[in-house]
Structure formats: structure tokens, C-alpha cells
């Protein structure tokens, strides 16, 4: 069975007085296998962030359901939601969301501290992770003392240190220049090779071409899907993604 199952998601935002209704998601339906690295692409306003927020249990869908390891998210009681999110999900934000009052080390420890893990365990988990993400030397610095790419890598470390079932990333390269982006994507791939399931929202075809599968969202539905062929190179996938994007925007591609 798939690790993540998204069934007929619908999300309607209504304004406070119910006068205006925006349908952000109409009918989103897909699933993600364990160990997969999936990208989600789509135009601005197509509902990507909305989707990710629902997957992260930060928001609730109007209709439809999300299953993580077969367990429905809607079934998690509210008071356990924080703990659930902390233990089972990792989230990487576009604008890092690191706390200026903590060093990078403490920022990364935050979910573990909240889960009341012993200090020795935190240390043991951090060391290899920091090594892999190449931030070992920066751990005692504060967020305002390091570059954007370094911040984002620390944010990734914070997201995966709890060994979450699913790592969610909302335009993680959005605030980075191309070199830092490439480096971060390299990190994502390494993490994925270690068995981490990843769902990443992105605008960039390059970023998308690093993943196993690309979902295109338009008008609130999954409009198109590209899968990496056996032994297909990044460049080849990149070309196909670009092609799909052009067709999408000119409207010649029909799901």
C-alpha cells in the first residue's frame, strides 16, 4: 500500500462573512510510495501551498481525505495533532522559519526537545545529519550569521531529524540563488537515497527534474504527471518537464 494516499481533496476558502469563496483545490487525487521523491509544479495560485498545508495537517480539507501509512489524518484528534506533526512529518519552508533566538544546533533540536528526547540521543542523531548536510561547522552560529543556503540546510536538518515518514517542502529553493539551490537539491537527493520519502513543491524545472515523479496541478486538479524512466538522466527529465510546462501554459496538453 502507498505510504501517502490523497483522495479527492477539495479545499474551499471562504472569507470571514462567507461572501467570497475561492476554490483552491477541486479534486486532487494521487499517492506516493515509500522512498519516492515527488515534485509538485503549477502556476502561482494553483493551490500548491494549500495542498502541502493539508498534507502537513496545518489545514483541513473541505472534502476528501489524506492517509499517511494507511492512517487517516482526519482521525488524529486535535490535541495530538502537534505531536503527530512533530513525529511523523518534516516541513521545509520557503522562508526557512528558523528562530533567531536559537543557534542552528538548537533550531535543529527543537522538535526533539519538544518530544522530550534525551540530550545524548539528540547529539547522536545530529552528528551524521550535519555531516551530510555540510553544516557541522556552523552549528553554534545564529541564523542571522549564516547564508540563506546554509539556513535552508539547517531547516532541512530540523525537518528530518525526527526521522519523519514524510518530508514536505514548499519551494525550498525559492529564496536561494542557483548555486545554493543546486546544493540543496543535492542534499535532498542524498536524503532520499537514504530512504526518505519527499514531496516538494517547486516552480523550478531544474528542481523538479531531480525528483522521481513530477505532478502538475492546474485549476485545482492534478493535470499531468511525469515519471522518470529507468536510468533516465536529470537532463532528459528536465527537458521533458520544460516541454510539459510549455504545453501546459499554451493549453495544448490535455490530461
Amino acid at each position: 500500500m502507498a505510504m501517502l494516499q490523497v483522495q479527492h481533496l477539495q479545499k474551499i476558502y471562504s472569507t470571514r462573512f462567507g461572501t467570497m469563496r475561492v476554490q483552491a483545490l477541486r479534486d486532487v487525487d494521487f499517492s506516493v510510495e515509500e522512498g519516492e521523491f515527488v515534485s509538485v509544479m503549477g502556476e502561482s495560485g494553483s493551490g500548491k501551498t494549500t495542498l502541502l498545508n493539508i498534507l502537513a495537517a496545518l489545514d483541513k480539507p473541505t472534502e476528501g481525505a489524506v492517509f499517511l501509512d494507511g492512517q487517516p489524518l482526519a482521525g488524529v484528534p486535535d490535541r495530538k495533532l502537534s505531536a503527530f506533526r512533530r513525529d511523523r512529518l518534516g516541513f521545509v519552508f520557503q522562508d526557512f522559519n528558523l528562530l533567531d533566538t536559537f543557534t542552528l544546533r538548537d533550531n535543529i533540536f527543537l522538535p526533539l526537545v519538544l518530544a522530550r528526547r534525551p540530550y545524548a540521543e539528540m547529539q547522536a542523531k545530529l552528528a551524521p545529519l550535519a555531516e551530510m548536510l555540510e553544516i557541522s561547522d556552523l552549528l553554534d552560529k545564529y541564523p542571522y550569521e549564516v547564508s540563506g543556503g546554509q539556513k535552508q540546510r539547517a531547516a532541512v536538518a530540523r525537518a528530518v531529524i525526527t526521522n519523519p515518514s514524510l518530508l514536505l517542502a514548499d519551494e525550498p529553493t525559492g529564496a536561494l540563488d542557483s548555486r545554493a539551490s543546486m546544493k540543496l537539491l543535492e542534499m535532498f537527493r542524498r536524503i532520499n537515497e537514504n530512504g526518505q520519502t519527499i514531496v516538494m513543491v517547486t516552480h523550478s524545472a531544474i528542481a523538479a527534474s531531480r525528483s522521481d515523479r513530477v505532478l502538475f496541478i492546474k485549476d485545482g486538479v492534478v493535470f499531468h504527471e511525469l515519471r522518470r524512466e529507468e536510468q533516465e538522466t536529470d537532463d532528459s527529465l528536465f527537458a521533458r518537464v520544460n516541454e510539459a510546462l510549455t504545453m501546459l501554459s499554451t493549453g495544448r496538453l490535455v490530461g
Partner: protein
């Protein structure tokens, strides 16, 4: 178009009302307090209040202090507001509004605030002054109750003072606006969010200052120097408090942080790092709260104690209805004065119920283990005994007892010295042969173990004893009780001072009491008045602290909730943080008060209040009451904080 800037200014004020409303309230209260105090100091009605000269002077003094205090408070509040709004100003510049224009908007904002506070403050002040005048009348026990009218001189002075203050504040803000680049304005709020570095030097200075202040307050028992000592101690404690709050607290928090097991617990993790980060800015606020709160406690409890102890201190100073002094030239003066007193009483149709008349000389001794030795010039003023030497024959006359004394014996009247006291003078040891009961009533009260003790010593050959010790038997004292009430006492005092006998000065207790009570009533009034002002200032500082922390923490908590902090946990962390900030200044203030207790007692002793128990109780009561009000303020303001953080 012309009304564009004034309108923007009005919109700004309305939009920032969570921050501006307390500011407006504070400046209105400042105007009102200043107006009231000045009205009391200069209004013609006040001058007509009997015996109010001393009190009116106190009000004049109070006006000056209030003016200074208001200036400091308004500057503090303004600096907070401006820091909040830097971002807004930066945005204006980025959007293409010239600094000149922002300046014009600022000008109108200042103008509106000034006008509103003057109007509110003067209306409130006028109403309140009526009320307070009534309260004061009853405090001073005036019989005449009349109302106080609007004092235009005080109102004009308030307009000038606060107009000037706001002008300076406006210029200060303008200067800040012009100095800053738009980018730094935009990020203005974030600056200062660097991890603070605690300096060892400051911590050591703080510890030394606080230790020094406490030591002075506790160890120095010298009543004579206690007032300068007190101010020195206050200064040291203020320095110590500021240093320790700013530097010591950071050191302390960092030490806590170093303990991994303690630090990496959710409760401590969040609040410790948050506190540490904002300690630099926070610390000054917390220290101010602590100092203000201590001042509040000291002012209210001391003035209350003085007021409640006013009867007994008057009794101390005037043990009998009429007290007279003069210069004695010989033993005949006593009989002559007694006869004069008798005839004056008769002329006035009154009866003399008590008359103690005696010659005296004063010597200052130092007490060492129960032995009194003559104080040498340059001796430390420690354990001084102020002794009044009274000739045995005078004592015999006034007491009507037969006094049998050996040459090396004396009688003693003292509230603190024991009957085993030995007097060592010119190589001779004098022993105490008994109590001089008849003089007990007119002996000033001192305290054992203190440097200010009083004794009346009756001995044979007082004149030669005094001369040999460098004194002289030239003092002439009279204590009288007469029947016929206050007026008879005053008349008697006046008559005896001008009767031509050895008394040259006399005053009646009734006469002094009015002025005395007026003074102490004003003390209390001022104490409560300032207490209220301090409390308001404390409230304002707390409020602004909560507000700025709420703004800062709301983003922090939002992020943490995304990472998996449950709402319940964040509520707990917030409560914990609030509580810490709440208790720290309060606990420090209580500690200050405990250490100040001794030295304040000494000062009260000089002012004639000997009841230490009364003062201790009043301190405790004041603390409990003020802490309750403080807590209330805290609860109200922390609601603002929680609302901001949870939003």
C-alpha cells in the same frame, strides 16, 4: 489636500491605539498630577490653611520632583513607541514619502497628543484636586472645609512644561528619523536582537555596589549620619540593581543554558532562550520596575508610619504641654522661675498640674560595655549617649524627694541604659544608685544597641563635674502642664517666655501640634500621591514590555507551532515566561526593602518614631497591597501579550 498630513496623523494615532492609548493616558495623568501639585503649592486657598507653611513648601518640592519624573516617564514611553514605528517610517520612505513629510505627520501626531493630554489632564486635574483637597483637609484635620478653585497659573505652567517636553520629544524623534536610512528603519525592530554579551566587569560592579549598599544599610547604626548614609545606599543599590539585571541576569541565564539536562527541556528551552535574547532590552525595564516598586514601598510605608506615629513623636518632642528653655546663671533661677510660672497660671485662671524646672548641662559620652566614657573629638559617632546632667538639689526640689547621694553616685533616667551603667570621668568611676523617676517623663527615647541614646543623670556637685568635663551648667529647662485647654497652654507659653525670668523661649504642644500634624499629613499625602504615580509608571512600563514582547514572540510562537509545539504547550511556556518576568522585580524589591528596613528605622527615629514594630507591619502591609495591585496590572497587561502571541 492641505488637510492631508493632519488626517494621516489622525489615522496613524487611531491605527496604533494599543500603543498610543496608554501613552495618552500616561501623559494626561502626568499633566493632572503636575497641575494638582502646583495648585496645592501656589493656590491662595492653600495659603489660608492654618499652619500650612511647611506643607506648602513640601508641595513646591513635590512639584519639581513630579516634573522630572514625568519627563523621564514620557521619554521612556516615547522611545518605546518610536522603536515600534520605525518600520512604518521606513515604509513611508521606500514608498516615496519624503522625510520632510514624515516629519510633518509626526508634528501633527505630537500636537494632537499634546492637546489631548492637556485637555484631559487639566479637566481631570481640576476635578481631582477638589477631591484631593477634601482628602487633604481631613488628613490635616482642618475644621474648615472649603473647595479649591481652578488655578490658571498652574494650568499655564502645565501647558508650558508639557509643551516644552513634547517639543523636545518631537525634536528627538525627528533627529532619529533624519539620521536613519530607509533600510535601517525598515529593520529597526530587529536590531538589538543579537545575543547579548554579559560583561564580567558589570557583574562585579553590580555585586559590589549592591553588597556595599546593603552593608551600609544594615551595618551602619549611626542615626546622625543615617540620612546621608541612606542616600548613598540608595544610589549603590540602584547601580547594583541595574548592573545585575543587565549583566548578572545574562550570566545567570547562560549558566543555566550550559546545563544541558536543564536547558533541553521544552519548558526551559523556549523561555530561557527567549529571555536571554531580549534581556538586554528587558533588563533595563525590569530594573526600572524593581527600583520604582521599591521606591513605592519605601515612600508609602515610611510616610504612613510617620503619619500614624505622629502623636507619639510629638509626645517625644513635647512630653508636657509647655516646654521652655533658657540660660541658667545660678540656683536661684529655679525658684524664681517656679514662682513666675505659678503667678502666670493664677493670672490666667489656670492651674499648674505639673512643673519640672531644672538647670542642666549636656555631655556626650560613648558607651563601651556598659561604661560611659567622655567622647573625644574625632571619635566615630558610634554608640553615643547624649547625657543631660542635672544637679541633685534641683532634682530634689522638683521631685520633692530627699536625695541622698555619695560623691561617686548618680541617679539615672534613660529608656535604654541599664541601672548597672558605670560613668567613668576624670579617673573616677561613678555608679548608678537608682532611678530618677521624676525625670523619666521628659527623657527622650533612644534605642539600645543604637548610637543614639539619651540619659538624664542626676549627681552632686553637677557644676564642677560639668566644668571638669568641658561642659557648663547653663542649660535651663522647664516642663509644665496647665489646665484650661489648648488656649491656656499657648497663653502660658507666651507669658513665661516674656516674663523676664530665666526662660527665653517657650512653646506649647497645642501650638506645635497643628503645624506638626499638617506637616505629617502632607508627608502622607505626598507619599500616597507619589505612590500612585510610581504605580502608574510601573504599570506603563509593564504594559509596554508586554506589548513589545508580544509583538516579538508572536512570530516565534507561530514558527514553533508549525514545528510541532502544541497550543497547550505554548500557553504554558508563555505563562512561565510571564511569571518569571513578573516575580523577578517583585522579589528583588522585597529584598531591597528587607535590607533597607534597619536604616529607615534609624531615620524614623530621628523624626521621632520609635515604634519599629509599627514600621515592620506597615512595610509588610504595603508590600502585600502593592503586590496585589501590581499583580492586577500584570494580569491585565498579560492578556494583551497573550492575545498578540496567539494571533
Amino acid at each position: 489636500m492641505k488637510a492631508f498630513f493632519p488626517r494621516i496623523a489622525a489615522v496613524n494615532l487611531a491605527g496604533n491605539k494599543t500603543a498610543y492609548l496608554p501613552y495618552l493616558l500616561t501623559s494626561s495623568v502626568c499633566v493632572a498630577t503636575f497641575y494638582i501639585m502646583l495648585t496645592f503649592a501656589i493656590s491662595p486657598e492653600m495659603a489660608r490653611v492654618p499652619y500650612a507653611t511647611g506643607a506648602v513648601m513640601l508641595f513646591g518640592f513635590g512639584t519639581v520632583i513630579i516634573a522630572i519624573f514625568c519627563a523621564a516617564l514620557l521619554f521612556y514611553a516615547n522611545s518605546f513607541l518610536i522603536r515600534r514605528r520605525k518600520k512604518e517610517f521606513g515604509l513611508y520612505s521606500v514608498l516615496g514619502m519624503e522625510k520632510r513629510h514624515v516629519g510633518v505627520v509626526l508634528f501633527f501626531e505630537t500636537l494632537y497628543t499634546l492637546a489631548a493630554s492637556l485637555i484631559l489632564g487639566l479637566i481631570g486635574g481640576t476635578l481631582l484636586s477638589q477631591l484631593l483637597f477634601g482628602a487633604l483637609s481631613s488628613l490635616l484635620s482642618f475644621d474648615v472645609v472649603f473647595s479649591i478653585s481652578f488655578c490658571d497659573a498652574a494650568a499655564i505652567a502645565a501647558c508650558i512644561l508639557f509643551g516644552g517636553l513634547f517639543a523636545v520629544i518631537f525634536l528627538y524623534n525627528l533627529l532619529h528619523l533624519y539620521q536613519a536610512s530607509p533600510v535601517s528603519l525598515l529593520h529597526g525592530e530587529q536590531t538589538g536582537e543579537r545575543e547579548p554579551r554579559a560583561s564580567w566587569i558589570l557583574t562585579i560592579i553590580g555585586l559590589a555596589a549592591l553588597g556595599g549598599g546593603y552593608t551600609i544599610a544594615v551595618v551602619r547604626t549611626n542615626a546622625v549620619t543615617s540620612i546621608p548614609d541612606f542616600f548613598l545606599a540608595v544610589l549603590l543599590v540602584i547601580i547594583g540593581t541595574f548592573c545585575l539585571f543587565t549583566s548578572g541576569s545574562i550570566k545567570f541565564l547562560k549558566a543555566l543554558k550550559r546545563s544541558k539536562r536543564f536547558y533541553y527541556k521544552p519548558e526551559n528551552f523556549i523561555s530561557l532562550s527567549g529571555m536571554l535574547f531580549r534581556m538586554k532590552r528587558n533588563a533595563a525595564g525590569l530594573a526600572s520596575i524593581c527600583i520604582l516598586f521599591t521606591m513605592l514601598l519605601v515612600t508609602v510605608s515610611t510616610t504612613l508610619c510617620l503619619y500614624l506615629g505622629r502623636e507619639s513623636s510629638l509626645q517625644q518632642l513635647y512630653p508636657t504641654a509647655v516646654t521652655a528653655f533658657g540660660e541658667a546663671s545660678g540656683a536661684d533661677d529655679v525658684t524664681e522661675a517656679l514662682n513666675t510660672a505659678e503667678s502666670i497660671a493664677q493670672e490666667n485662671g489656670a492651674e499648674l498640674t505639673r512643673s519640672l524646672v531644672f538647670r542642666s548641662g549636656t555631655l556626650v559620652f560613648t558607651e563601651q560595655d556598659g561604661t560611659l566614657v567622655l567622647t573625644q573629638d574625632g571619635d566615630e559617632a558610634d554608640h553615643f549617649v547624649y547625657a543631660t546632667i542635672v544637679p541633685a538639689e534641683d532634682y530634689a526640689a522638683l521631685s520633692g524627694e530627699e536625695v541622698v547621694l555619695e560623691p561617686n553616685e548618680f541617679l539615672l533616667a534613660s529608656s535604654s541604659l541599664s541601672q548597672d551603667t558605670v560613668l567613668s570621668l576624670n579617673g573616677t568611676e561613678y555608679r548608678c544608685a537608682g532611678e530618677a523617676d521624676a525625670l523619666n517623663a521628659v527623657t527622650q527615647t533612644g534605642l539600645a544597641g543604637m548610637d543614639m541614646q539619651f540619659a538624664m543623670i542626676v549627681c552632686r556637685d553637677a557644676e564642677s563635674l560639668l566644668t571638669s568635663a568641658g561642659g557648663s551648667l547653663t542649660g535651663f529647662n522647664g516642663y509644665f502642664d496647665v489646665t484650661g485647654g489648648d488656649e491656656a497652654e499657648t497663653a502660658f507659653a507666651e507669658a513665661i517666655a516674656s516674663s523676664g525670668c530665666a526662660f527665653s523661649y517657650a512653646s506649647s504642644r497645642a501650638d506645635v501640634a497643628q503645624e506638626w500634624y499638617a506637616l505629617y499629613g502632607c508627608f502622607l499625602f505626598l507619599g500616597l500621591f507619589f505612590g500612585a504615580l510610581f504605580l502608574m509608571a510601573t504599570g506603563l512600563i509593564i504594559y509596554y514590555k508586554q506589548l513589545s514582547e508580544g509583538f516579538d514572540d508572536s512570530t516565534r510562537f507561530a514558527i514553533m507551532q508549525k514545528v510541532g509545539l502544541s497550543p497547550e504547550e505554548s500557553r504554558r511556556a508563555i505563562r512561565r515566561q510571564i511569571l518569571l518576568v513578573f516575580f523577578l522585580p517583585l522579589a528583588a524589591a522585597a529584598l531591597h526593602l528587607v535590607f533597607a528596613y534597619n536604616i529607615i528605622c534609624n531615620i524614623l527615629l530621628i523624626l521621632g518614631v520609635t515604634d519599629r514594630m509599627l514600621f515592620a507591619c506597615l512595610c509588610a502591609a504595603t508590600f502585600v497591597l502593592c503586590a496585589a495591585v501590581y499583580y492586577l496590572i500584570y494580569r491585565l497587561t498579560s492578556r494583551t501579550y497573550s492575545r498578540l502571541v496567539r494571533a
